[in-house]
């Protein structure tokens, strides 16, 4: 291990040895190193948000035929810093009748829930916060804490629009957790592990090729989890003022804002790690630090799609959104899970008798899974076609709004 190929572990080793030489015990050194690592990952997440906010606003601007931020720095790249300073100086308004502790706790919860996710994301083969062996379940657990933050924000604000936003948050975030978890089970099934890093290691063929439907379900439902357009019912400004964050001001609002942007980036990172092969790429074995580059390239590609969807899709109606979840995504995910499990098991039983070449096995497996996925998509489309709306039900005849009055008789004559 040397500095150039694997700098982070090199520094960690050096620091650990230094502390050991000071006479500290091994466990204490481990605790200190973990604390430093956690702090660094958190700082890294926050500083990344500074960049992604600029990126998103710029893309938003370009798509709407505007320039976007363009005053501070080249291409407006430092625009977020003045915004940050401005939000620091804003007044904290605490309305009468709020539940003070809960009101202040909610923004912290919703940011920390997103930040906690970063603990298990593998940036490179050797750079992982903690390689928990139940990493995928950990992701689900942490996601539910985020929902808690939103609910508490809505409840404690003592405002009916906030409360309505919180109700919708429960309906949306908790419902979309179901297909998300089911879709997460498919990488677990294919990779035969629940640790995120070992799932990345298992992707000789990217899981998006093995199971594109699972990737799509995971992507859609985690988009809904972030609560951004087209799933931004929680803060629909045309109906609910600003939903659960109506009463927040200053940095407390900023926390929700940062949390939302960080969440969008985090789901891209998860998508990259779980379905797009994470840090896998050429020359990663020799130079582990290169994995970070591959990982972030993939993450930013997914993030670009997330932003594009946010910009170009109109908001859904709440009943359409829930119907889509319970009547489409969840059954599809269930069917996919069962089929994938059966195909995987059958493949493992049949493959020794086929006498394939060692290198060809993962590709054959990918082909079989892909075929099953295509079959499922085809059946789904046929089923959907049978429920197609053939004609819009006519409720009433159109009525002319302005009819010219009959001219008085004197004018005619």
């Amino acid at each position: 291990m040397n500095f150039l190929t694997d700098p982070i572990n090199f520094i960690a080793n050096w620091l650990g040895n230094l502390l050991l030489n000071f006479g500290m015990s091994q466990t204490l050194v481990t605790v200190i190193l973990k604390f430093i690592g956690a702090g660094l990952v958190g700082m890294f997440g926050f500083s990344l948000v500074i960049f992604t906010i600029w990126l998103e606003r710029k893309l938003y601007g370009r798509i709407q035929d505007r320039l976007g931020p363009n005053r501070v720095g080249p291409w407006g790249i430092f625009q977020t810093f003045p915004d940050m300073i401005k939000i620091f100086t804003k007044e904290y308004i605490t309305p009468i009748g709020v539940d003070k502790i809960v009101y202040n706790l909610a923004p912290i919860l919703s940011v920390s829930a997103v930040l906690l996710t970063w603990a298990v994301i593998p940036f490179a083969p050797t750079i992982v916060g903690t390689d928990v062996n139940v990493g995928v379940l950990y992701l689900v657990a942490v996601g539910s804490i985020g929902a808690l933050g939103i609910i508490l924000a809505g409840w404690s604000s003592n405002n009916k629009y906030s409360l309505l936003g919180a109700f919708r948050a429960v309906a949306q975030v908790v419902s979309y957790e179901v297909p998300m978890v089911l879709a997460l089970l498919i990488p677990v099934l294919l990779g035969q592990s629940m640790g995120v890093n070992s799932l990345v290691k298992a992707q000789n063929v990217w899981f998006i090729i093995l199971s594109p439907v699972a990737a799509l379900i995971f992507f859609t439902s985690s988009l809904a989890e972030t609560g951004r357009a087209p799933f931004d019912l929680l803060e629909a400004e045309s109906e609910l003022v600003a939903g659960y964050q109506t009463e927040y001001s200053g940095l407390k609002f900023g926390m929700f804002y940062v949390g939302e942007f960080l969440h969008a980036f985090t789901i891209s990172a998860l998508m990259a790690a779980l379905f797009l092969g994470g840090w896998r790429g050429p020359w990663v074995e020799q130079v582990p630090i290169l994995g970070v580059a591959w990982f972030f390239i993939k993450t930013f590609i997914v993030y670009f799609v997330v932003v594009l969807i946010r910009i170009s899709m109109p908001r859904l109606r709440i009943d359409q959104m829930l119907n889509f979840n319970w009547k489409f995504l969840t059954p599809l995910a269930l069917v996919l899970l069962i089929v994938t499990a059966i195909v995987e098991k059958a493949f493992i039983m049949i493959v020794p008798s086929l006498q394939l070449m060692e290198a060809a096995v993962p590709w054959v497996r990918a082909g079989v899974h892909l075929l099953m996925n295509i079959l499922i998509v085809w059946i789904t489309i046929q089923l959907l076609k049978s429920h197609r709306i053939n004609a819009v039900r006519v409720v009433a005849q159109p009525r002319p709004i302005a009819v010219a009055p009959e001219p008085p008789a004197s004018v005619i004559s």
Partner: protein, 170 residues
């Protein structure tokens, strides 16, 4: 003291304080929040016991599902933000008695149990633990009967919920 012991002590104190606050807090939502804190403390204990799977499952099920359900139910049924009603009803002494009896029973069982004082044996093959757990749940020699019973109960509960909530056909 090792760092593990320090963490244990801090978490134990927080969990106990949170547990007491669940019953003494006047506000329903605050009670639910204290409950979440104490459940979280228990999850940390699982981590300290090297049972990561149970820790995560504890967070998913108890905090992610049950506590959120509590909060949601309280938000929907009570007048939001108001502390209405007395804190305890006339059966409080019965509840306290049952809780005390339960505590005594658990204490007696634990004191007589050998595993309480002996060190836990090292588990072989740590990465296969979840695998072993899964196999134990479906193997006929071990826990397949409780597992299936629980599944049947859950299915019955789900059907019941659908029946209660479903639209009545005239």
């Amino acid at each position: 003291m090792t760092p593990e012991q320090i963490i244990f002590l801090i978490v134990a104190i927080v969990t106990l304080v949170a547990g007491i606050s669940v019953v003494t807090s006047r506000n329903l939502i605050h009670s639910a929040l204290w409950l979440i804190l104490s459940l979280f403390g228990i999850a940390v204990f699982y981590v300290l016991l090297d049972a990561g799977f149970f820790a995560v499952i504890q967070v998913i099920i108890y905090i992610g599902a049950i506590a959120i359900l509590f909060i949601f139910a309280a938000m929907l049924t009570r007048r939001v933000m108001q502390d209405t009603g007395p804190q305890s009803n006339s059966n409080w002494w019965l509840g306290a008695l049952i809780a005390l009896l339960l505590l005594a029973g658990i204490a007696v069982v634990l004191v007589n149990w050998q595993g309480f004082t002996s060190l836990a044996p090292e588990l072989i093959n740590p990465s296969e633990r979840i695998n072993q757990l899964g196999l134990a749940l479906v193997s006929p020699d071990q826990y397949v009967l409780p597992f299936e019973l629980a599944s049947v109960l859950l299915v019955a509960a789900m059907i019941g919920a659908i029946f209660v909530a479903g639209e009545k056909k005239q």
